[in-house]
Symmetry: C2
Subunit: 260 residues, 2 copies
C-alpha cells in the first residue's frame, strides 16, 4: 500500500521545561512520513530550502519514503519555534516562518499516481487544496490542520474540509473552529460539512473517533514515564493510522452512539 502526503518539512526550535533543541528535523509531513513508513510506502510532497541539512535528507531517504516530490528551492526552509508549558499538553508557538512554502506549488511525479491513501498534513489550506485536486482518486482522504490556519484561513480550510473523508483536530481546535464548548456539538457541526469521520486528539489522554453513522471509538495512550518533546506526536499518530489501511477502528472495540 502507498500513501501520498503533503505537508511541512521544517526546522524546529523547541523549548520544554527540561530541554532546548535548535533547528532539528521537524514539520508535520516529516513526522507523519517517519511513522507511516513503518507500515507503508510513503510518497512525500514538500519543499525545503537550500539551507536544509543533508543529514535530514539522508534520514528520510533511509526509510521507504519516496522523495521524488520533494523540491529543493533557493531560500530558507520552513521554521517553527515553540515552547511547552510545565504540563506538556500545552504549548505556545513563538514564531513561524513559511520560507520557501510561501510561493510553493507542488508537482506530483508520475510514480505517485497509484497512491491508495491521501494525507493532507498541516500546511497552508491553499496548498492542501492544490494537492487534493491534482491527486488521483484515492480510497480515503485524511486532513490535519492547526491553530495557525483556523482563523486566518478559515474559508479556504472549510473548502478543503468539504472534500475529504476524515478530519483530525485537537479538542482546542474543535472549539476554535466551531465555537462550541461541547466537543459532541462541535463534531456535529463538522459532520454538516460532509465529513465521514472526525478524530479528536486529546494529547496525553488519547484520541476519540466519531463517525457520521454514530461510530464512536476511544483510543487510549501508552503511559510514558518521561516525555522529552511532544512535538509531532499528533502527526506520528496520524502516520500510525495507516497501519490498517486507514481504518484501524474497524475493530470489536467500536460501538455506536445513539442520536449523534
Amino acid at each position: 500500500m502507498s500513501i501520498l502526503v503533503v505537508g511541512s518539512v521544517a526546522l524546529d526550535t523547541v523549548e520544554t521545561p527540561f530541554n532546548r533543541v535548535e533547528e532539528v528535523l521537524g514539520g508535520a509531513a516529516s513526522f507523519f512520513s517517519t511513522a507511516a513508513s513503518l507500515y507503508s510506502q510513503v510518497n512525500l510532497v514538500a519543499v525545503v530550502g537550500s539551507d536544509f541539512p543533508q543529514e535530514y535528507l539522508d534520514f528520510l531517504r533511509s526509510r521507504p519514503i519516496n522523495l521524488d516530490g520533494l523540491q529543493i528551492l533557493d531560500g530558507p526552509t520552513f521554521r517553527w519555534v515553540g515552547r511547552y508549558h510545565m504540563d506538556m499538553n500545552a504549548r505556545d508557538t513563538l514564531d513561524t516562518q513559511l520560507g520557501v512554502y510561501a510561493g510553493f506549488h507542488p508537482v506530483l511525479p508520475a510514480g505517485y499516481l497509484d497512491s491508495e491513501l491521501l494525507f493532507l498534513a498541516n500546511i497552508q489550506p491553499e496548498l492542501q487544496m492544490e494537492v487534493l485536486q491534482a491527486a488521483p482518486r484515492t480510497r480515503l482522504t485524511v486532513l490535519d490542520t492547526m491553530e495557525l490556519w483556523i482563523m486566518p484561513a478559515r474559508e479556504q480550510l472549510t473548502e478543503v474540509m468539504k472534500r475529504v473523508d476524515v478530519l483530525l483536530l485537537s479538542e482546542e481546535e474543535v472549539r476554535q473552529f466551531t465555537g462550541k464548548a461541547s466537543i459532541l456539538k462541535g463534531v456535529r457541526d463538522l459532520f454538516a460539512l460532509g465529513l465521514k469521520y472526525v478524530i479528536v486528539k486529546q494529547g496525553s489522554y488519547g484520541a476519540l473517533l466519531f463517525g457520521v453513522d454514530g461510530t464512536y471509538f476511544s483510543a487510549p495512550t501508552y503511559p510514558l514515564e518521561e516525555v522529552s518533546d511532544p512535538t509531532g506526536a499528533g502527526d506520528s499518530f496520524a502516520g500510525g493510522l495507516s497501519e490498517a489501511g486507514g481504518c484501524p477502528w474497524q475493530s470489536d472495540r467500536l460501538f455506536r452512539l445513539r442520536g449523534l
Copy 2:
C-alpha cells in the same frame, strides 16, 4: 453480593457556570451507594444531622441500600460548597463543614458482617480506619479520598492506604500525595505502600488502572453533550466498579506494562 460502604452523606451547594443548586443530596457515600445499588446490595455506614431532609432518606430507602448503619444525631449535617470553572474538570471547594461527622464513631450492625466488598469512600481517614478495623474480612477493600485529607491528614491516610487493596485518586491527587509530576512514577510510589491496584481518575477523559503486577487498563468515558453538575462523578464511577464484583478489569482489553 453486598458492599459495605462508609463515607459522607451530605448537603451540597454547587455553582457551575450555568446553574446553582443549594443543599441538595450529596456526599461520597450517597453517590457511591446510588450507583452500586444498581448491581448489588449496599450496607451504608454514615451519619446525618437532625436537619437532614426526610425526602433524601426516602430516596436512599427506595433502593437496595440498607440504612441500619446510618445514625441520625443532633447537630448539623455535613455540608460542602463548591464552584466549577468553565472547564467542568476543575473546581474550587469554597467551604466544608463536617458537622456531626466531627465526633462520629460508626457502629456496624450485625447484618453488615457478611459484606463481601468494603468501600472506604471519601471521609476523615481516622473514620475510614475505624471501619476497616471493625469490618469483617472482605474479599476486596477499596479506598477513595480527596485533596481535603491529603495534606492535613497525610499520616493517618497513609496508614489506611497500607491496609487496602485498591486506591482511587485523581491525577492531581496522585501528584499532590507523591510529589511526582509523572503519574507512572507516582503510582510506583503508591505500590511501595502495599497497594495491589491504583485507579487514576482523569475526569472527563476516563480512568486508568495500574496493577502492581504490571496490569494496565484504560477506561474511556461515554461522551456527553451537556454536563450540568459533575459532583460525585468519581464516587458514582467507584459504585459502578462493583458490577463485576470489584474486578471489571478482568477483561480482554487488559494488557501488561513492561517494567512497571
